[in-house]
Symmetry: C2
Subunit: 211 residues, 2 copies
Amino acid sequence: MDTTVQSTEDRIHEAARKVFHQKGFNGARMQEIADLAGINKALLHYYFRNKESLFEKVFNETFSQIVSNMTKIFLSEMALMSKIEIFVNFYINFISQHSYVVPFIINALYEKPEQLREIITRQNVSPELLLEQIRKQLKEEMGLDIDPLHIYVNILGLTIFPVVAKPLIQSIFAISDERMVVFFEQRKTIVPTFISNALKGYEKNKSLAKI
Amino acid sequence: MDTTVQSTEDRIHEAARKVFHQKGFNGARMQEIADLAGINKALLHYYFRNKESLFEKVFNETFSQIVSNMTKIFLSEMALMSKIEIFVNFYINFISQHSYVVPFIINALYEKPEQLREIITRQNVSPELLLEQIRKQLKEEMGLDIDPLHIYVNILGLTIFPVVAKPLIQSIFAISDERMVVFFEQRKTIVPTFISNALKGYEKNKSLAKI
DNA sequence: GTCTATATCGGGATAGAC
DNA sequence: GTCTATCCCGATATAGAC
C-alpha cells in the first residue's frame, strides 16, 4: 500500500488551492481543478456540493495560515527586535514562494466582503494578545508608549507590500527578475534596520512618541 | 443645451471604470456596465469591440493616474521630508476615496501579466528621474548613500499597504469603521515621523548606511 | 467512488430593424 | 446611434450507468 498516494479528496483539495490562489474565485474553472486533480468535474461535485463550498474551504485554510504566520512569531519569547528580524526574514521567504496568497486573501475580501466577514469571525482569532505583547515589549525594552497597532502595521507594510506589489514595482521601474531576487534579499536586512532606526528615534525624542 | 449631460461614450467609460475597479476583469459583467451607463449591451459593443478593449482602456487610464500620483510629488522642488509628508497625506486620502484602485492594478497584473506588461512599457514612464532625484536629496540633504529604491518602496509600503489591506486588518483586529477612520488620520503624522526617525538613524550610523 | 452524457444557464457578442 | 432579439459558447451542475 503506497502511502504517498493521496486520497481523492486530498488531491481535489490541493488542486483547488492552487487554482483558486492563482485565479481567484471568478477566474478559477472547475474543469481546471478537476484536470489538476486527475479526475473529472462530476467527481468534484460528489465531494463538494458546489464551487462556493470548495472555495470557502480553501479560503478558510489559507486565511488561518496567514494569520497564524503573522502572529505566532510575535507571541514567542524573544526580544522585540529579534522577533522583527525573524519575522521579516521568514515572511519575505514565505510570500516569495507563495506570492499569490496575500493577493488572494485581499482580493477575496474585496470580491465577497460580507460572506467572508462572518467566516473570519468564526475563526476566533485573538489579536489582542498579540498587540498587548508588542505594547509590553515596546514599553519594557525601549521605554516607548506607542500604539502597537501602528508599529505592527508598519512592519507588515514594509515586509508584505513589496512582495505583493512586485509586478507593479517591476513594471514601473523596469527591473529584471534577477535584480528582483537581489532586491528582496537586501530587504531582509534593510527592513529590520529601518524599523530599528525608527524606534530608536522615538526613544530619544519621547515627547513625540506619545501617539 | 445641458452641458452636464455626458456623451454616451463618456457614460460607458465611467460605468466601466466603476465596475472593473470593483469587480476586476473576470468579475465584471457587461450587463452591469450597460445598466450603470443607462444603455444596453449592444451599444457597449458598438463603442468598444469587446470586453478586453474596454478593460484595456480603463486599465491604461487608471495605471497612468496611479503612476503619475506616485511620482509627481517627488519630482517637484521641495525638501525631501516635506515631499514625504505631502505624499503620505495625499495618498492616504486618495486611496481611501478610491480604495479599489490599487488592488485593481495589482490584481490585474496577476490576472494577465503578459498582456499588461507591454501596455505598460508603451506608456514610457520614466522612473529613473524619480529615483535619481531621491538619491540626490538623500545625499545632499541628509548625507546618506542609500539605495533610493528601497527608501521609496518603504514609503509606498507604509502608506499604501494599510489602505489596501484595510479589510484584512479590520477583520483580524475586529476594528470598527469609525476607529479605522481615526487610524488613517493618525497615520498621516505617524508615517512621516517614522520615516524621518529611520533616516536620521542612518545619519548617525553611516557605516551601516551603505547598502 | 468514478465515469460519460447532458441539462441548464449566464454572459459575451452579433444581426438587423428603426 | 440606439434598440430588440438572438446566437453561441463556456461553465456549473446533475442524471444515471458502471
